[in-house]
């Protein structure tokens, strides 16, 4: 299904430098999307050159050699600013690479830049970062423009653009607008899958412990995983293969060796058992998505798979528990930002304490400060048992729900990823970040609570011409099975290619060449 960029590089049809230059010029012409915070043009071209030299010698490092990638701006990158879209880290240049970044570079990938996000990955819209909101490339697609009827002609298209979802919205937009072939996101409660769904790309949240978190600036250590955003499931498998495995710098990674895999083409799904968790009929689920979900279930059924309704009874408690655990860890993780060792430091110097207070007030936005406040409340001695400990117990129950369902013979769970398609920015910001996060993480965060692998597969366009995705949740460390099923599904649904009018207008030639390009 995918164009073999890697083969093209190998065969010399295109050089890494050409590829890199095309991406860089696309980044420029799609600057209005605000997908990137930092574009590392110089170092990217240098990396491309080195890659080119390897191809010339006939010794590329592997499938990823010369492939342009982007990385969410909450992964440390040596020599390139890492901001977390926060005033706190504006201008911060890390002295080291996150393990996942290092692994990509070691395999010859070309790092184009750092992508936009909600401040410290706290959000579900990619609208709450200090560098401004990310715009969904689909806002500028022919598909959306044809179907969305402007409320009035006086309203310019400026107010019609839709959000990417978040918090890895920059990475999703970057992949969706062809400015890179793969991007790293992070996924704590759905931050990779949610924007992937809204931007019509594949978003994989691997099993907790499969990929190193070293160098990922944490949101919630016990749930964070580096996420993978690509244009097709095969690509996600390739990137996963290059990142997975034990890292001595992250004690929560598994010790067992991880063997990269190629995905087989499933021809027979009759041995598969697909579970449809009834609790995912969440309040607010759009009828459109509900219909799509049923259609997908039918697709499996019609192909001979066993499709059964299952119950994950504690699901409805999941989001509140997620919030308690999330804010508690946020309060703890953010304690290090005091302006002493790095990052923003306030001019206030009356005392160390007043300097801390001013630094943190100036450095963090309302969302971050709000979560720190509630997290500290939950961790107070008098509240710890009532909130944190209880939430942890419920978390165990939620994880056990999954264990039971998978133990009963279900291979994969099929659910919606989001409640609806992407909202226009003007609509989205009518509610505050907390409300939005509670709504938008509802279908995704349970997989984080249980540590399970889950993937968003773009499925169809909504009535408004916007992408809608479905989520597959697999067994712990059974990524191969999960991705194999996802690949089969991807093949069946034939999700349409984005037709980027705006990009065409801006950079016609490059877009034509990049169209449908994938690397594996």
């Amino acid at each position: 299904m995918c164009f073999q960029v890697s083969a093209a590089l190998r065969d010399g049809h295109v050089t890494p430098t050409e590829l890199c230059q095309r991406c860089l010029s696309l980044i420029k012409s799609t600057k209005f999307l605000n997908a990137y915070i930092t574009v590392a043009e110089e170092s990217a071209l240098k990396q491309a050159e080195e890659s080119e030299e390897r191809y010339r010698r006939g010794q590329p490092l592997g499938v990823l050699d010369g492939i342009p990638i982007a990385v969410k701006d909450n992964f440390n990158t040596a020599g390139i600013e890492t901001t977390c879209a926060s005033n706190m880290l504006k201008g911060y240049i890390s002295p080291y690479n996150a393990t996942v970044v290092q692994k990509l570079l070691d395999q010859g990938a070309v790092l184009l830049g750092k992508t936009n996000l909600d401040e410290f990955a706290m959000g579900s819209g990619s609208t709450d970062g200090v560098f401004g909101p990310v715009r969904n490339p689909w806002s500028y697609s022919r598909q959306y423009k044809e179907k969305s009827v402007p409320k009035s002609h006086s309203e310019d298209e400026e107010s019609n653009w839709v959000i990417t979802g978040g918090s890895s919205g920059g990475s999703a937009a970057a992949v969706s607008s062809f400015t890179c072939f793969a991007a790293l996101g992070s996924d704590t409660g759905g931050s990779t899958r949610n924007p992937a769904a809204h931007c019509g790309v594949v978003g994989l949240k691997p099993t907790y412990g499969l990929i190193s978190r070293h160098g990922l600036i944490p949101l919630v250590n016990s749930m964070d995983v580096p996420g993978i955003l690509t244009r097709c499931v095969d690509d996600a498998a390739v990137v996963l293969g290059s990142l997975a495995g034990h890292d001595p710098k992250d004690s929560t990674t598994i010790q067992d060796n991880f063997k990269p895999f190629e995905l087989p083409n499933l021809t027979d799904v009759s041995k598969l058992s697909i579970g449809i968790p009834k609790e995912y009929h969440a309040p607010g689920l759009s009828s459109e998505i509900l219909a799509l979900w049923s259609k997908a279930a039918d697709l499996f059924k019609n192909a001979g798979a066993k499709v059964i309704e299952v119950s994950l009874p504690h699901t409805r408690y999941s989001i509140v528990c997620y919030h308690v655990l999330c804010t508690a860890e946020v309060a703890s993780n953010m304690a290090r930002f005091d302006g002493l060792e790095y990052g923003h430091r306030s001019d206030m110097n009356k005392s160390t304490e007043s300097m801390y207070a001013a630094t943190r007030r100036e450095g963090f936005n309302d969302v971050v400060r709000g979560r720190i406040l509630s997290g500290n409340y939950f961790l107070l001695k008098q509240n710890y048992e009532n909130y944190f400990v209880k939430a942890q117990k419920v978390r165990r129950l939620i994880a056990n729900d999954f264990v039971k369902v998978f133990g009963s013979g279900v291979d994969i769970l099929l659910t919606p990823t989001t409640l609806s398609d992407a909202a226009p920015y003007t609509e989205f910001i009518k509610e505050d970040n907390r409300t939005r996060s509670a709504q938008d993480d509802i279908l995704t965060q349970a997989a984080n609570m249980a540590g399970l692998p889950a993937i968003n597969v773009p499925t169809a366009l909504s009535e408004r011409g916007l992408p809608v995705g479905l989520q597959f949740i697999g067994r712990s460390f059974q990524e191969k099975q999960l991705l194999t099923v996802a690949k089969w599904f991807e093949k069946q649904v034939k999700f349409p290619m984005i037709q980027l009018e705006e990009v065409k207008r801006h950079d016609h030639g490059v877009f034509q060449h990049q169209k449908s390009a994938s690397f594996s």
């Binding site: 080291y96 070293h214 944490p218 002493l340 001695k381």
Partner: protein, 574 residues
């Protein structure tokens, strides 16, 4: 409640208790309440107090783990390195860094736990303890609050009563737990420029926090317990435990109450940087609390610092007001799992597991065992084994030597580095024919007192074990008298590189071997001392010693007293 007091301070405490415990109510009218120190000097606690006071002392000891690298990072551990030269990204809490547990630190904690008779938890957990402080870069310390690595141990220590080495008592303090945790950095406050400078070299160094139950009742007990712990740590090598370098830090929790009543409000005394100061600080604090309460005051639950110059404790300004540490499990570290021979999985990489049994089998002899072996092997007195293997010497009773009203009744301790004294003794014993029982006298009375006078450590001694053995051999062979031996030793201290034999020859200190010459000298003494000879002949044999002494003086100590006695007896019976 009685058990609490019995665990307290020696005999006098018990007597005090019995006096006060006639009824649950106040002591009989007119009876003065008393507080006592370990030596039994009862101290009136006040003029109208209803009952005696029972001090309760518990200790929290932070021992820096002796390890090449820090607890969770690869940075080197080194005392007095240039500021901020030993700081990894993790130590500086750079965002995205994660802790990786140092196996050596785990082993050191297991070793220490076993040596302190603890049960080792096969599964322990790490927690975050939050507070904002400039030398705590992450805003939290990783510690073991919920399930520490070792629990429920005990430590036996000995101290002497009334300052008499032959009245040693052995006591036991329960060890509540040992937890692994990170050290903080150091803040240097520059008040003139109103700046605080931060050195993160120490940030993240592995600590073992040893929590002792409040089983002690005075400074001397606390000091003796800490000294024994220090010796154990040094024997194990799990910590260098040098207090002056901050490798062993002691906080004391002190309270006082009346017998039969609940414990009083306690204060925590910090900033104690020597064992001697520990005893002083605790005793001061006990006295202060008693006086405060006797005067109708109350004790605040506060942190106080010991001011070694003033010899008193002063309130410390708290770091962040009332602290709520907001403990939380450390999510980046899985539970610490330890194995024993039974639970060790067969296919496990041995580099990745810590085997408790393996460590147990390799524990060195602890100080108490070493002392018992010294007593058994060499026939020396138990108290001498303590002199050889302990570095606390209770020199004098402060109350009798010091006029300071603040410190009346507080024991005075002399600290001296006698590290290696036992080895020195054993080396001398190996190289001489002299009986160990006699050697110990030379070690304690001559070597040790000389070292003390000149503030030298055993390792700095100008007289090596070889030279001392050489000298003692001359004595054994009766080549010299013991008086002469002392003279030779006095020469040896000068460290001029001469052998004992050379000194004997040069100074003509060898015994007079010529029987006739000795007989002539004896005869001369007899001839001069008519009265004494008369006395001896009339039956007063004690006077013979005087004659022997005179012969010794005549020969300048170069005569063998036994031979001289024989000659004199023979001549006087003629």
């Amino acid at each position: 409640m009685a058990a609490v007091v019995v665990r307290g301070c020696g005999g006098v405490w018990r007597r005090t208790w019995q006096r006060g415990a006639r009824g649950p109510g106040p002591a009989p009218r007119g009876q003065h309440a008393v507080a006592c120190n370990a030596r039994g000097g009862a101290v009136p606690a006040g003029k109208s107090g209803p009952a005696p006071w029972v001090p309760v002392v518990g200790l929290e000891i932070h021992a820096q783990i002796s390890s090449n690298s820090k607890l969770f990072s690869g940075s080197q551990v080194q005392f007095a390195a240039p500021p901020n030269s030993l700081v990894s990204f993790f130590d500086a809490s750079l965002p995205g860094t994660l802790p990786v547990l140092n196996r050596r630190c785990v082993e050191a904690a297991v070793m220490t736990g076993l040596a302190l008779n603890c049960s080792i938890n096969k599964k322990s957990l790490f927690d975050r303890k939050h507070y904002f402080y400039a030398d705590l870069p992450a805003g939290y310390q990783i510690t073991q609050q919920r399930v520490p690595i070792a629990v429920n141990g005990s430590l036996s220590y000995s101290l002497c009563i009334d300052n008499k080495m032959n009245q040693m008592v052995t006591k036991t303090v329960r060890i509540k737990q040992i937890q692994l945790e990170q050290d903080s950095g150091k803040s240097l406050h520059d008040d003139t420029r109103s700046q605080t400078l931060i050195d993160l070299n120490r940030a993240g160094v592995g600590l073992m926090e040893v929590v002792m139950e409040p089983d002690m009742c005075c400074g001397e007990e606390a000091a003796a317990a800490v000294r024994e712990l220090q010796l154990i740590l040094q024997t194990l090598g799990s910590s260098q435990a040098v207090m002056a370098e901050g490798q062993l830090r002691v906080d004391a929790n002190v309270s006082v109450h009346h017998p039969g009543e609940p414990y009083g409000v306690r204060t925590e005394v910090k900033n104690i940087n020597s064992i001697r100061f520990l005893a002083k600080a605790v005793d001061y604090e006990i006295q202060r609390q008693i006086e405060e309460l006797e005067n109708g005051g109350t004790i605040l639950n506060e942190t106080r610092a010991f001011d070694s110059k003033l010899g008193c404790t002063v309130p410390m300004r708290d770091k962040e007001g009332k602290q709520d540490y907001r403990f939380m499990p450390e999510p980046n570290l899985p539970p610490l799992i330890l194995y024993d021979a039974k639970s060790l999985p067969a296919n496990m990489n041995h580099q990745q597991v810590v085997n408790i049994d393996w460590i147990h089998e390799r524990l060195p002899d602890l100080p108490s065992v070493k002392r018992a072996k010294l007593v058994e092997q060499y026939g020396i007195l138990p108290e001498h084994s303590f002199t050889l293997l302990s570095w606390l010497v209770f020199l004098c009773n402060y109350a009798t030597h010091c006029t300071s009203p603040v410190h009346a009744g507080i024991g005075f301790l002399l600290e001296k580095n006698e590290d290696g004294l036992a080895e020195f003794f054993e080396n001398v014993v190996k190289q001489t024919q002299m009986k160990p029982k006699k050697v110990i006298g030379w070690i304690i009375n001559d070597l040790l007192s000389h070292l003390k006078q000149h503030s030298l450590t055993v390792k700095e001694s100008p007289v090596s074990s070889f030279l001392l053995a050489d000298l003692l051999n001359l004595l054994v062979k009766k080549d010299i008298s013991s008086t002469a031996a002392k003279q030779v030793l006095a020469e040896l201290w000068k460290g001029e590189g001469k052998t004992p034999l050379e000194i004997v020859k040069k100074k003509k200190l060898g015994l007079i071997q010529d029987q006739k010459e000795l007989e002539q000298i004896c005869q001369a003494v007899i001839d001069r001392q008519e009265n004494e000879v008369m006395a001896i002949k009339s039956g007063n044999q004690k006077v013979l010693n005087k004659l022997i002494g005179l012969v010794q003086r005549e020969t300048q100590g170069r005569s063998n007293a036994v031979v001289v006695r024989q000659i004199l007896e023979k001549k006087l019976s003629e």
